[in-house]
């Protein structure tokens, strides 16, 4: 019983970070209708940004998250403005090809710039934990979970309460009607993509604290984000976090009660399950 509770807690904490990873992907998918295969590469760049802030400048990784987010926002904004805008409203295959290309370019540039060495963001408290009713709560994982919740809540407020946020949702819901109301998608698209990559940047920094940063970390994280974005729904930030938590719990329990080698099968099995039960989920927009 005690072990089961601990496994559940591990899954929830990990799932929060998974959710944050998928948040940006879901937003970009919902608004721009682009399945961004370079999403994991942006997570990786966020990891390196936070790593160098911490290792080079001595900035605490949690304090470095906003720096990484601003950097990644600018990068994402420029990538959408000058590359992805060329394929706006193109067929799905074109967007997949272009974002796959961006992923390859970013990954190999990172290998060139940062080498294949793995980096850990390892502040003194990274290995700390405390006991809560007999359960071990790892501090860094808890911090990552809390940050994910704050960012998802912030995104939800932004989309619901601000004029720009509502414009983003309007663009996602009905482009023609949004344009008739004076919303300029040329402004909204790069902004949304930038927010998506900024969130990826934050996720990358946190991932470096609980795991490690390498040029190749992106691919599996893109796949996970894809599954979670569908589980959680593209337009509901807190739903995406819940999707992440669902996947985290599924993986953690699979490790113990089934076999760890089935972990990926369970994740993608959940995806297939969702698509069978609610086949319209893939195409649901905000």
């Amino acid at each position: 019983m005690h072990l089961a509770a601990q496994i559940l807690l591990n899954g929830i904490l990990l799932g929060g970070l998974y959710g944050l990873m998928a948040l940006g992907m879901g937003l970009v998918w919902g608004v721009l209708n682009i399945v961004n295969l370079a999403h994991g590469a942006f997570i990786m760049l966020g990891g390196y940004a936070v790593y160098y802030c911490y290792a080079g400048l001595g900035i605490d990784p949690f304090a470095a998250l906003p720096i990484a987010m601003v950097g990644l926002f600018c990068l994402g904004y420029l990538v959408q403005r000058f590359v992805l805008s060329l394929i706006a409203r193109a067929a799905l295959l074109s967007t997949l090809l272009v974002t796959f290309g961006i992923d390859v370019v970013l990954t190999y540039l990172a290998l060139f710039a940062f080498s294949a060495d793995f980096r850990t963001i390892n502040p003194s408290y990274a290995g700390d934990h405390f006991d809560l009713g007999g359960l071990t709560v790892p501090l860094a994982q808890l911090g990552a979970f809390a940050t994910a919740l704050v960012l998802a809540g912030g995104l939800r407020m932004f989309l619901a309460r601000t004029r720009t946020g509502r414009a983003i949702r309007a663009t996602a819901q009905n482009l023609t009607a949004a344009r008739l109301h004076g919303i300029n998608p040329r402004r909204i698209y790069p902004l949304s993509f930038g927010i998506g990559t900024a969130l990826a940047g934050a996720a990358g920094g946190l991932y470096g604290v609980v795991s490690q940063v390498t040029p190749y970390m992106g691919n599996t994280l893109t796949a996970k984000s894809f599954v979670i974005a569908i589980l959680g729904g593209l337009d509901r930030p807190l739903g995406v976090i819940a999707g992440g938590v669902a996947l985290g719990i599924a993986e953690a329990t699979t490790d113990i009660y089934l076999d760890p080698t089935y972990r990926n099968a369970i994740g993608f099995g959940m995806l297939v399950g969702i698509l069978v039960l609610r086949p319209t989920r893939l195409f649901e927009r905000a």
Binding site: I7, N10, Y108, D117, F118, I256
Partner: protein, 399 residues
């Protein structure tokens, strides 16, 4: 028609460089220069390169009275096993290399060595330790890493001798790739023979970053020792997550990989302290070498050239090239069957240790037990104690 024949003759000359008595002898390999295994793949790229350069600088190899240089043809398999296999076929069918060096990792070596066997071209590889590679009756495949089944042998022998008491229970955590499956199978037998009960025995997906559930399971029935096997990035995550979940073995934790590598210690800082590991090689003046002088001079030359310290992967890679140098000279010919027989018969001392292949084609070096003490990799135990270990290893919250 005549033009075509001339062109064909030219092409065939071009494609058979070793055919000429002055042309360099081509050694080919498909390595993980990029992709998730690039971090370890680079040891092989750099090891092969420095060995070929050093052998050439010392005058090359004498084949039937003629001095010949070595040349390398390296392809990037991008850490993709299937691409690697295709590239080995390409090396033989298009690039026409004379002999084959191996890739990193047992999974790759397992598949790539089938190409060598099919084409009957000797492959000496220092990246695959799994016994699966050597249990298929292949004649053209040789390995310079010791058998994976026995990796924990010296560690367990050491632990059985150490106070306060011999270990009674163990947790075994191994990945699902070829190397680690061999490690797990061999270690289960070693544990049974030592009378140590296996309380947790878990296999995990090779590239997983996540161990928290397995660690919580281990914490729920704390074993005397934790034996972990996999790739280096996973070792790093396992160790960090063990600390963050406060998971300790009663006596010690040992890792098949990671501990001897410099970037493992760099990435972990003081968290790497007191981890037990193993290596078939550490630099030493006592390891005499025909080309590099000794193990220490090799390590210094390697670090100066590439900017990072070599570990056993790099030394094993150098030994692979040296095996060809010795065998080709002994064969006095580039005929593949003769070189193959010469490789089977080599017996020489190198910077890597004594190189001599057993009946299955695999070397039998002992694994030296090492422990990280004050940031240094300290050799602890081979057949007997070399240095004093810190044992039992204190729990995370008592360090």
């Amino acid at each position: 028609m005549r033009c075509t024949l001339v062109a064909l003759a030219l092409v065939s000359c071009h494609r058979d460089p070793a055919g000429s008595e002055d042309a360099p002898i081509q050694l080919g390999a498909a390595l993980q220069i990029t992709g998730p295994l690039a971090n370890t793949g680079r040891y092989y790229r750099d090891g092969y390169q420095i060995a070929v350069e050093q052998i050439n600088a010392k005058g090359g190899i004498t084949v039937a009275g003629h001095k010949r240089q070595l040349a390398l043809k390296l392809l990037d398999s991008q850490s993709d096993v299937n691409l690697g296999v295709r590239q080995y076929v390409q090396l033989l069918s298009q690039d026409k290399v004379d002999f084959l060096l191996g890739p990193f990792s047992s999974n790759d070596a397992l598949n790539d060595s089938s190409v060598a066997e099919k084409y009957e071209v000797p492959m000496v590889q220092g990246g695959g330790a799994s016994s699966q590679i050597f249990s298929r009756g292949y004649r053209y495949v040789f390995g310079t890493l010791p058998p994976a089944d026995n990796y924990f042998d010296s560690t367990l022998k050491m632990m059985l001798k150490l106070p306060p008491r011999p270990p009674k229970t163990a947790a075994l955590v191994c990945a699902d790739d070829s190397f680690d499956v061999s490690v797990a199978q061999g270690t289960r037998k070693l544990l049974a023979a030592a009378g140590i009960e296996l309380v947790v025995d878990k296999q995990y997906p090779e590239h997983t970053p996540e161990f928290s559930s397995i660690l919580s399971l281990i914490k729920s029935k704390p074993p005397d020792i934790i034996l972990w096997s996999g790739h280096e990035p996973q070792a790093l995550n396992f160790l960090r997550q063990a600390k963050s979940l406060g998971v300790d073995a009663n006596l010690a934790t040992s890792y098949t990989v990671g501990v001897p590598a410099a970037d493992f210690r760099t990435a972990l800082g003081k968290d790497a302290e007191l981890a037990f590991g193993m290596t078939p090689w550490i630099p030493s003046k006592d390891l005499k070498d025909d080309w590099f002088g000794d193990g220490d001079s090799f390590a210094a030359a390697y670090e100066q050239k590439f900017g990072y310290a070599p570990d056993y992967h790099a030394a094993s890679a150098v030994a692979d090239v040296e095996v060809f140098a010795k065998a080709i000279e002994a064969a006095g010919s580039l005929a593949r069957a003769r070189v193959r027989d010469a490789i089977a018969g080599v017996d020489f001392h190198s910077l890597y240790g004594r190189v001599k292949f057993g009946a299955t084609g695999q070397i039998a070096l002992p694994e030296l037990v090492v422990q990280i003490q004050s940031g240094q990799v300290v050799p602890i135990y081979a057949d007997d104690f070399i240095n004093k270990p810190v044992y039992p290893v204190p729990a995370w919250d008592k360090r």
